[in-house]
């Protein structure tokens, strides 16, 4: 069956932030300069082409957008200024929306007002909650800790697991691969290596410092999550845990400040076209690190009681992060990318048909 071309797809993709990719005249320069593209697994031209033709099924089946780490080399060298790097980014947003069964990801990417409304609702929820406990710090801290644990578990079970299953269905099952069960286990290593190291990003030329920053950020973030949720950082008396938490949150906000600076200066290709989702992601991460640091500091200085607003601020940032940005925003890229590498590995070993 011949595939149907859909020229309206580019209009849809524009809402996800694509810029000028229609200008592509298929010279292939981008693929040639991309240090991650290989002969058997080549991109980004192919993705630019599929996007221009609007072949949604083929794009949905593809894992290539996740293989790109947005070094921006392709965009720098494209003779038509078709911005292939930004197209790969938009495809990742679009794919996220496809994987998400709730449809909220797509809604938030495409309509900023919807996202802002959701953020406001979360803020209202936090205020209502504070009101319902008469602003008692003790209770707020208690509930805050409880909230963290339930939120993580719920997002995982209700959003991530079904979405990952959908991703697996679209990219592995539907294209018709018969994968022996064993492969899923043998390839598992790939998943964790990529999840924690983003090792492929290192293969991008001239990108090592950024890769290092990113690596530290991931570790600091995951450890802070662990420290607050399981080691109960805000209530603990253990000096080691206290210092650990300080370090982690400091790292988070220092690195994110650098990322924000890049996006403001727009010097690097990848920070030239920042969408709202990119801004919310780094700023909220920065705020998380900063407010967590301050909350603990205020506790240690014994002045939090007089500055409850700080905790409220922290818990609002946290709730917005955990309920909106993590499940429906850019955070998921981290998850999908790791699984994409896992699926790529699986697809590369299943018996050829």
């Amino acid at each position: 069956m011949a595939s149907r071309i859909n020229p309206k797809f580019s209009e849809e993709l524009k809402k996800y932030g694509s810029v000028n990719f229609n200008a592509c005249y298929n010279c292939g320069t981008c693929t040639a300069v991309c240090s991650l593209s290989t002969t058997d697994d080549s991109f980004p031209r192919e993705m630019v082409r599929l996007s221009a033709l609007g072949l949604e099924n083929e794009i949905k089946e593809s894992l290539k957008p996740w293989e790109c780490y947005y070094c921006g080399e392709c965009t720098t060298h494209c003779p038509q200024t078709a911005n292939p790097g930004e197209l790969m980014m938009s495809l990742r947003r679009w794919l996220t929306a496809q994987y998400d069964w709730t449809g909220l990801s797509g809604l938030f990417y495409k309509y900023l007002p919807a996202f802002l409304t959701a953020m406001a609702l979360v803020l209202a929820g936090v205020l209502l909650f504070a009101n319902s406990v008469n602003g008692e710090l003790e209770k707020m801290l208690h509930f805050g800790h409880l909230f963290e644990r339930t939120a993580i578990a719920t997002v995982f079970v209700v959003i991530f697991i079904p979405n990952l299953l959908r991703m697996w269905y679209f990219t592995v099952v539907k294209p018709g691969g018969k994968v022996p069960l064993k492969t899923y286990f043998t390839a598992l290593g790939e998943l964790f290596v990529h999840m924690f190291t983003q090792k492929r990003a290192k293969e991008c030329d001239d990108n090592h410092f950024r890769w290092l920053e990113h690596l530290i950020l991931v570790f600091a973030y995951l450890l802070l999550l662990f420290t607050t949720v399981f080691l109960n950082w805000f209530s603990t008396g253990n000096l080691f845990v206290i210092i650990l938490g300080y370090l982690e949150s400091a790292f988070i906000f220092i690195i994110t400040v650098d990322f924000v600076k890049d996006r403001i200066q727009k010097k690097k290709t990848l920070s030239k076209n920042s969408g709202p989702s990119d801004w919310f992601f780094v700023i909220w991460l920065l705020l998380m690190g900063l407010t967590a640091f301050l909350v603990r500091l205020f506790i240690d200085l014994n002045i939090l009681e007089g500055n409850k607003w700080l905790y409220l601020f922290h818990i609002t940032v946290l709730a917005q992060w955990a309920l909106l940005i993590v499940p429906f925003g850019k955070w998921t890229h981290f998850l999908y990318r790791s699984f994409a590498m896992y699926f790529v590995k699986i697809k590369s070993v299943y018996p050829a048909q």
């Binding site: 069956m1 011949a2 595939s3 149907r4 071309i5 020229p7 580019s10 000028n20 229609n22 200008a23 592509c24 005249y25 298929n26 192919e46 082409r49 599929l50 221009a52 033709l53 072949l55 038509q80």
Partner: protein, 576 residues
């Protein structure tokens, strides 16, 4: 018969003397009959040797000169003028080539090369004995120039000629001028309307006293040759009741600018005439120019998706039209942009074989991409297919840009991007005997160096009658053809080479075989003392020699290449 011949044998630096023993050659010929002087020289073409030759001619009272050196293409003219400087007629000079023909050809056999050189020089001496003084044919030229075809090319040629000191007769077959250009709306790149452009030039022409524009008129016959053509022109009745006029004009040169025909697809070619929504590019241009409304409609149906199929009738692998029509990529992309700008919800799909928007036209390609047009490409062996399914017209292709994946669209309109073909009506070509190239358009003498001249002296070609061109290129060639045509007659007098055929009327019995053989139509028939004989038109004859060998009683000689001359040369070459 020459009796005082001077022979110069050149070393050409070493190019000749490294392989040919030039001194032996000199010795071998110095005592030949009629040779009074035989010299070798290191560079025959050097200034000092040229001066020596002039002195020798005078001092030794030479009546014939021979240089054995390089190719006549290089230095025939040089030594002819040396001869003239020595007060001899330049046609008494004989050139022989012992470089390309002896030393270079036989560098592996020095003795053989030397012997061949000796024979070549001996043959030249034999020829030289007969070489007669000759004088170029001179005649008066008409200072009027005819331009046939009043498309953009013909009109621009006429404007350019009228700026010079000449009268112009512009002859157009149709009742209106402008050719195809006058039928176009906005044009690619400039966006000026073709009709406006054509009108502007026509108004200019009408202001000029020395230009006569004849519309509805055709040249029905032509007699004569460069400098003096007599054209018979028939002007159709413009209104019922008008008489048909026949006029005669004497002109010195003719610019042919009869243009092209758009390719008409065969029935069934990409669905043409099978489906009513398959049309040609000219039709499509006329449609978008004339249709007003928010949405484009064709035969009452709303048009959103348009498929353009490129290279229809051009770049054929099996067909006759191997060439690229040059204008069409640009023109169709421009039309697609126009359509999208003018009407709502237009989606363009270009089924191409590689885009050829050369030069500045590339900007249009970029614009079309940016507005979201989709380009699909295949090679000649797998063209796109147009077919109908459930009452819809569809186009499918194995797109080479998408790993040869089979892709399809439903098209509301299919536009066949038809190329240019030579005019079906070849009356002008036949009348002037204009040769055609492989592509069947009129052929120039040399595609790079003599791009608007034809082998028929006095006839130039302008615009698309010579091959596909856009307007810029058509006008370029028209201006150049006008300049060339004018240069033929600008002096009022014309000179032609004296080396032409000559009829011995005593021997000729008018069998007509020579006239059949002559590729330039230079041979006619006339009555001499009550007898029919062949007669050569000296201003048309090119001295090619085709007529001489076919004449049964051997009545035709080519001046400077008479049978005696050639036979005596052959005798020498065969070893005396």
């Amino acid at each position: 018969m020459k009796e005082r011949i001077g022979v110069y044998i050149c070393h050409c630096g070493g190019n000749i003397s490294d392989y040919v023993d030039v001194e032996r050659v000199r010795q071998a010929v110095e005592n030949d009959r009629g040779v009074v002087l035989a010299k070798t020289t290191v560079f025959a073409c050097s200034d000092s040797n040229q001066n020596d030759m002039v002195d020798d001619i005078k001092k030794h009272n030479l009546d014939g000169v021979i240089v054995a050196s390089c190719s006549p293409k290089l230095h025939l003219a040089t030594f002819r003028s040396v001869t003239e400087r020595g007060d001899l007629n330049k046609y008494t000079y004989v050139h022989t080539n012992i470089r390309e023909q002896a030393s270079w050809a036989h560098s592996d056999d020095k003795i053989g090369a030397t012997e061949k050189a000796i024979l070549l020089v001996k043959a030249a001496i034999a020829k030289s004995r007969y070489a007669e003084p000759l004088y170029p044919n001179q005649f008066e030229a008409e200072k009027t120039i005819a331009v046939i075809g009043a498309g953009i090319s013909g009109m621009k040629a006429a404007v350019s000629l009228s700026d010079k000191n000449t009268s112009v007769i512009l002859i157009e077959k149709e009742n209106k001028v402008g050719g195809h250009t006058a039928t176009w709306g906005p044009l690619a790149m400039s966006d000026e309307k073709g009709s406006d452009l054509s009108h502007r030039i026509y108004s200019d022409l009408l202001q000029r006293d020395n230009v006569t524009v004849l519309t509805g008129s055709e040249v029905i016959s032509s007699k004569g040759s460069i400098g003096n053509f007599t054209l018979k022109v028939r002007k159709r009745a413009q209104q019922a009741g008008d008489p048909v006029e026949t006029m005669e004009f004497n002109v010195g040169s003719v610019v042919v600018a009869t243009g092209f025909d758009p390719y008409l697809p065969k029935a069934g070619e990409f669905g043409f005439s099978s489906y009513e929504n398959v049309i040609t590019l000219p039709d499509f241009k006329h449609l978008i120019d004339s249709f007003s409304g928010k949405y484009l409609e064709y035969r009452g149906k709303r048009i959103n998706r348009i498929a353009y199929i490129y290279c229809v009738g051009s770049r054929q692998v099996d067909g006759e039209n191997r060439y690229c029509s040059r204008y069409c990529c640009t023109s169709v992309i421009h039309a697609a942009i126009q359509a999208k700008k003018k009407f709502k919800e237009i989606y363009n799909f270009h089924f191409n074989r590689g885009i050829r928007t050369y030069g500045k036209q590339e900007l249009l390609y970029a614009e079309s991409l940016q507005q979201g047009d989709i380009y699909l490409q295949s090679f000649e062996d797998a063209p796109p297919q147009v077919y109908a399914e459930n009452g819809k017209t569809k186009v499918k292709i194995k797109d080479v840009l998408t790993k040869e994946k089979e892709l399809e669209i439903e098209a509301d309109l299919v536009v066949l991007v038809t190329g240019m073909v030579p005019r079906a009506d070849n009356s002008i070509g036949t009348m002037f005997k204009l040769p055609k190239g492989r592509d069947k358009f009129f052929n120039e003498v040399h595609m790079k160096l003599r791009p608007v001249e034809t082998v028929i002296d006095g006839i130039t070609i302008a615009g698309t009658c010579q091959g596909p061109k856009n307007i810029v290129e058509s006008v370029n060639s028209a201006l150049s053809a006008a300049a060339k045509s004018y240069s033929y007659i600008s002096k009022g007098m014309l000179e032609t080479e004296p080396i032409v055929a000559e009829v011995n009327t005593d021997l000729c019995a008018w069998c007509g075989k020579c006239a059949e053989a002559c590729p330039f139509d230079a041979i006619g028939q006339k009555d001499v003392n009550g007898k029919q004989v062949a007669v050569i038109n000296n201003s048309v004859c090119k001295g090619c020699g085709m007529c001489a060998p076919v004449c049964p009683p051997d009545a035709i000689n080519l001046i400077n290449y008479s049978s005696e001359e050639i036979m005596s040369m052959i005798e020498q070459l065969a070893g005396g």
